[in-house]
Each structure stands twice: as C-alpha cells, then as structure tokens.
Symmetry: C2
Subunit: 239 residues, 2 copies
C-alpha cells in the first residue's frame, strides 16, 4: 500500500516524530527504526506498523503501509545526521520467553550503547531474556536499538524488579566485595539471573543482598571494566 505524504504537519509524520521521546514510545507501545538492514530484521520479526521511505521497498507485506516522503520529512523523523532513506514505526512485541533459565538483569545500566551491546551479546549467547530494572535506559532508545544489531526484535525484553523474576533461580551478582569469587570458579547453575550494574555505581546494595553467588572478573591496574565488556565476559562463562 503506497501513499504519498508531502507535509511536515501531516499527523503520521507528527506521530512518528513524537516516538523519539520515551514517554510517547511507552504511551503508544511503538518505536522507530532506521535503515534497510534494520527494516529487514523487523520484517522478519513481523513487527513493522508503517514505513516512511524515499522509494517503494520491495518484499514488504502488502498490508504494511509505505509512505513516500521527501528527504526533509525523513530528516524530521530520523535520529541520524545522514539518514539512510527509510524510517519505520514498529510495534513493541511483548515476547514471552518459553524458558527463563539463563537471564541477564540490568540494574540501572543507563548508557544506551552499553544496553544495545548487552542485548546483542545476550542474543548471540542464547540467553532466554533480558530484564530492565527501573532506572535503566530504555531498550527502545535509538542508540540501544542500533547497538543491538537487531537483537531487540528477537530477544525477549522484560521490565521489573528482581523479586518478580527470581523464584528459585540463582542470583549471580557481579560486584567487587570480599565474598566475590572469580567467575572462572563459578559452576554454571541450572537456572540463574545474572545481574550487572550501573556504569558509575555498580550493582545496588539491595540487589547485592539477594545474591546467591557473588562473582567478579579479576583485573589489575584499574577499578572496573566497561559494563558491556564485563557482561560479555560473564555471559561467556555462564553459557
């Protein structure tokens, strides 16, 4: 279905543009993606609502509206300095995870690049889901989506407090305290939640208290690793 939009005051353009803000993404349960590669993955995931494009895109389901727009309108709804020529609105899919044996929990991780990279690694390592604490960066932030390299379409994304998810799982917390054992010594539990913490402050005390296993990556010379690197190394050991 191909239509043309020419005015920046068109309601669909205004709506798309509003999705740059988290509050509107949450209100409408929609988010923006950009570029051909992302569009392909979103199509595979079946979550595209509508497309704004400089030229008609082949291989997209008939029932998904495509709106032909000019570069100034793409610029209005894009977050890029030099947009690729296609922006789409996607529906948030609240994917239920069939199993929850291997889960990563982000405790107030707030850099979107880190969040996107952790989603990418979790998906690559077959994690069952990623859970975002209150105070973590929005996974649908444009930089998080881009850093996830499309993992966001397939990895189940959940929100909430650790308590809601822990059941009888081991809670493995990455923290530098006297209880922490080297990750190389940790035996892979059957079912666990791996918690990584905020860039500046690490995992919060309330969550450290709930740990059944406290672990660390042994390092020298410097206080800490980047959280996405640390999460990657921990997930590499816990898979």
């Amino acid at each position: 279905m191909l239509k043309v939009i020419t005015s920046k005051d068109n309601n669909k353009i205004k709506h798309a543009s509003s999705l740059k803000e988290r509050k509107y993404r949450e209100e409408y349960q929609e988010f923006l993606i950009e570029g051909y590669k992302m569009l392909e993955m979103a199509a595979e995931a079946g979550c595209i609502k509508e497309i704004f494009t400089l030229k008609e895109i082949e291989g997209i389901k008939q029932e998904i509206p495509q709106y032909l727009v000019d570069p100034s309108l793409i610029k209005k709804i894009s977050n890029s300095v030099s947009p690729e020529g296609v922006v789409a609105i996607c529906n948030m899919v609240h994917r239920k995870s069939k199993k929850m044996n291997k889960v990563v929990y982000l405790d107030k991780v707030n850099d979107p690049g880190n969040v996107g990279t952790i989603m990418r690694t979790a998906y690559a390592f077959n994690y069952d889901a990623i859970i975002f604490s209150k105070g973590s960066c929005d996974p649908y932030n444009e930089k998080a989506i881009s850093g996830s390299r499309g993992s966001i379409f397939f990895l189940p994304i959940l929100h909430g407090d650790l308590e809601e998810f822990k059941e009888d799982k081991d809670v493995i917390v990455s923290a530098l305290n006297e209880k922490a054992v080297d990750i190389k010594e940790v035996k892979l539990p059957k079912s666990f939640i791996l918690v990584v913490g905020n860039e500046a402050n690490g995992v919060s005390q309330e969550i450290i208290k709930q740990a059944t296993i406290t672990t660390k990556i042994s390092i020298d010379n410097i206080d800490s690793l980047n959280v996405a690197v640390a999460a990657g190394i921990l997930m590499d050991h816990l898979r």
Copy 2:
C-alpha cells in the same frame, strides 16, 4: 604558576582548541583531556603540559602552568556539552613497552568508543601494549580517551603495520572462517599479538594470511559480537 586569560583570541586558547582535530594533535604531539578524574590520572602519569581551569587546582606541580579562564573559554576548548570546568593539554608519551609478549592489534577499528573500551580492557588484563593500524581511530580522540578511563596514560600505545611487530610471535586473528578454532581450545602462547578487526568488515585478508592461529568466539543467532566485547572475551581467555 597561575595566570589569567580573558580573551578567546588568546594564542593558548586557539592552540588548545586546534587540538580537537587529529591533524593538530599529530603535528604537536599533544592532546586534550577534560574533568578532574582525568586530570588526576594525567598528573600521576606526568604528562600534563598546561591547564585551563575555572579555579586553581591544588596538588598540581608548581611548574605546570594553570590558566584561570571563564566558562565561555572552557566551552571553546572542551568537547563536552556541559564541561566539568577543567581542560588540560597533555603531551603524548611514547611509552616503550619493556616486554611485548601480550599485545593487542587493532586492524582498522574505527569507533572511538570501541577503541577506548579496548584500551581499558587491555590495561585491566595487563596487556603489554596496544598497536593501531593505519585506518584505525585515533587513540587520542576525546571519546576514545574518555572510554579508556585513563588507561591511555599508562598502556603503551604504538602505531604501525603488523609486520613491524610480529617477529617470532604467534599472530592470533579473530575471524570467522573454516580454519577458526574456538577460543576455548586455544592454548596460551608465550608471546603473541591478538588481532581484532574493523566493525563492519572484520580483520582484513592481508592480515588473516599472516595468522598462525585463527580463532573465533562461538555464537548463535547473529553474525558477530561488538568488537570491544569480542576483544574483551578474547583477552580474558588469552591472559
């Protein structure tokens, strides 16, 4: 030594501002740092040339000039949207590495965030040096410096072709080809260079040809990991 600068046309301000560009950093062998934490680490490394600050900073050697400036001048020489109130010029220190047994080589890695993060991990894992190929991001880019969390002051930083450094070392290349063995199967060599490649294209063919060991991190669902995460996992196995 405390002086006051009030004019944005002052030569010292103009010079500092020029160091935002790579060509001037290379010409003068100087780079900019920002913020109190970075300043502290640079002082420890002994590479501060001069400081521009909103207020006099204690604990800095007498012979290092401190220039009192106002916020508009800080803004002119800073790369931050909201600068912390101190910017310094540092001298590039061409630190010779005492030994070169455990080295990471960046083959056209070009995102400054990735480069900074890899420096941080290499330093944390006691790597002897990091080598930048032609076409890699400048390690003295402000985002790389910030991502390195000060590692840049201590980790020996070298530039050049792989050939110049390989001698009798093993060359361990991260690449997805039929020769690649899982990193978990790689026995730690006595002396090696670990090569990680460009974000979009991986390690270049000329370098893959020189590999004595080709390795990979086993993943599913997606083509690749983020290069800083991959480098982190590889260095974690190779230490």
